[in-house]
Symmetry: C2
C-alpha cells in the first residue's frame, strides 16, 4: 500500500491507496492550522490515523504547497503554512513511521498525476498549469518530472510576462501569476472600477473575486470580459514561450479559473496561435483540460509514491 | 572514429575525431553555398574528403543552424541555407556513407559540447546561451539534452521579454533575440542616432555593428553603454525566468557579444539577482562563460556522436 498526503494552506489531506487502483482504501482531511499544535504534528497524527491495521506501507509521498527539495526531504519555504521554513519534513515522517518518505511541490505532483492518470496519459513531454488563486505548474520532460538541480524547478507562475507589470504574490512584478491568476483577474476589475469604470460586478458588497468576474463575463459584462481577455492573452503568450523552450506534445490546464471556459480559452488559443514563431510547434500539439479535479493533489502524491 | 559536421549559413566544417581525444585527426571547411551546387551535395563531398583511408567511422553527427528533428534526421527549416526545408539530411548522409548519422540543432549541440567538454563539466542541469547576431541555446536537464516532443525545444532566443517589443528575426515581436542580441544592440543605437542622439558610433561611414557599439561603450560612450545596459538587463531577467523554470546549477554564456565584458555582464548580474523570486535559485548557482570558443560547433557535434 501507499500513503499519499496533500499539504495545503487550509487543509491537510491523506489517503491510503492499494498497490494499483486509484480508489483510496481510506481518506481523511483535517485543517492545516489549529491552536497550540504545529502543522507538522497534525500531519503526523493524520498519517497515523489512516495507517492500516495490517499490511505494509511501501512509501509515503507528500505534496506541499511551497518550495521543497525532493532530494533531501526539506521544505525550503511554504508561504501558507506557519513555521515551515527549512523544515525537514521528509526526515520527520520517515523516522516516525520508519517508512520511506518522499516530498514534492504540490503543482509538480499534480503534473505527475495528470500525466500518469489524467489528461496526459500517453504523452512523454507535458506541461501542467494550474490557474487558481495563484499559478503553479509542473513539467514532464521525456517521461521524467523536471525538478532542477535542487528540486525547485517548474515554477511556471513566476516567469515574467509584463516587465515591471502588476505585483506578484512573490514580491516581484509582471509574473504570469500577477497577470493571469484568479487574484490578478479580480484585482484588475477592482482597480478599473476604482478608476470609475462601470461593471455588473459592482452590484455586490463583497470583495470582488474571480468567480464573480467569471459570472459577470458570462452575462456579457464588458469589464469582466476584458479582464479575462487580458489574462487569457498573456497566458496564451506564456504557453507559446513554454513551447519554444520545452516543445511538449500537450499542455494541460487545471485550476478553478479555467472553469470560466471560452471567455478565458478563446483569447488563450488566439494568443498561442499568434505567439509561436513556427507553426511546427502546434503540429500534433494538444491544449487539454485537467481531468483529475479536486483529487489531483492526492493522486499526484500517489503518482510520486509509485515511481 | 567519429565525424562531426557543423553546418552554418556561411561555412560547412567537418572533422574526423579519434575515439576519445578532442583534437581532430583532420579538419576541413568550405563555403556553404556555391554556384550550381546544392549545399547538401557540398556537404556530402566534404564528408567524403575527410573520410579515413583506413579504420571505421562509428557515427556521423551533424549540427545545423535551424529547426531540425533529431528523431528522424529531418531539417525542418534552415533559414540561412538555400533550399533546406523539410530535407531529410540524416537519411541522405546515412545512405551515402552507410554509417549511422544523427542531427541536432547547432546551439543545442553547443550546449552539449560545453557541458561535456567545456564550462559545464560536472554539472547535471545546465543552460547554454549564445549571444551573437541572434540568440540560440540548449538545455541539459538531469544529464540529458532537452529536445522536446519532436526535437525543436530549447529555443531560448524566442521567449518574449518585452510584449509587442522590437521585431525579432523570426517575425514575432519582443523576443530575447530582438532585445539582447548583437543585431538588437546595433539596431537600438542606429535608431537612437536617427532620433538625434549623439554618439561616438556616428563617426564611421559603415553600418553600425555590435562590435562598434562595444568599442564605443569601452570608451565611455553614453548611448553605447545604454544599449548594452538594456540588452544586459533583459538578458538577466530572462535568465531569472529560466532559473524559475529549470533551476540549473549553471548558465553558460557564449557568442561574440559576451566579449563586450562588464558593460554587458554587470547589468546581466544585477537583473538576475533582482529577478529571482527566491534567493534559493542563486544558492550554489554559477553564471559561467563558454570555454570552447570557435570549436564549439564541431565539439558539440562530436559530443552528440559520442552519446
Amino acid at each position: 500500500m501507499y500513503i499519499a498526503v496533500d499539504v495545503g494552506g487550509t487543509q491537510l489531506r491523506a489517503a491510503l491507496y492499494p498497490e494499483e487502483a486509484l480508489e483510496p482504501l481510506v481518506k481523511k482531511s483535517i485543517s492545516t492550522h489549529a491552536e497550540s499544535e504545529k502543522p507538522e504534528n497534525r500531519l503526523l497524527e493524520l498519517i497515523g490515523d489512516i495507517w492500516p491495521a495490517k499490511g505494509q506501507v511501501k512509501k509515503i509521498a507528500i505534496g506541499v504547497a511551497g518550495l521543497v527539495n525532493p532530494k533531501n526531504g526539506e521544505v525550503i519555504f511554504a508561504p501558507n503554512i506557519d513555521g515551515w521554513l527549512n523544515l525537514n519534513l521528509g526526515n520527520l515522517v520517515e523516522k516516525k513511521f520508519n517508512t520511506q518518505t518522499i516530498l514534492g511541490n504540490d503543482a509538480n505532483l499534480a503534473a505527475l498525476g495528470e500525466w500518469k492518470y489524467g489528461a496526459g496519459v500517453g504523452h512523454h513531454d507535458l506541461i501542467y498549469l494550474t490557474i487558481s488563486t495563484g499559478i503553479g505548474g509542473g513539467i514532464i520532460v521525456d517521461g521524467r518530472l523536471l525538478v532542477g538541480a535542487r528540486g525547485i524547478a517548474g515554477e511556471v507562475g513566476h516567469i515574467t510576462v509584463i516587465p515591471d507589470g502588476p505585483m506578484c504574490g512573490c514580491g516581484k512584478r509582471g509574473h504570469l501569476e500577477a497577470v493571469s491568476s484568479g487574484t490578478a483577474i479580480a484585482n484588475y476589475v477592482t482597480e478599473e472600477i476604482e478608476k470609475g469604470r462601470k461593471s455588473f460586478v459592482t452590484q455586490t458588497e463583497h470583495k470582488i473575486t474571480a468567480r464573480m468576474v467569471s459570472e459577470a463575463a458570462a452575462n456579457g459584462d464588458e469589464l469582466a470580459l476584458e479582464a479575462f481577455e487580458i489574462a487569457g492573452r498573456f497566458l496564451g503568450r506564456a504557453i507559446a514561450d513554454l513551447l519554444h523552450l520545452f516543445e511538449p506534445s500537450i499542455v494541460v490546464l487545471g485550476g478553478g479559473v479555467t472553469k470560466a471556459g471560452d471567455v478565458l480559452m478563446v483569447p488563450v488559443r488566439k494568443a498561442l496561435a499568434e505567439g509561436v514563431f513556427s507553426p511546427e510547434y502546434l503540429n500534433g500539439f494538444e491544449l487539454g483540460m485537467a481531468k483529475l479535479g479536486d483529487q489531483v493533489g492526492l493522486i499526484g502524491a500517489l503518482a510520486l509514491a509509485r515511481t
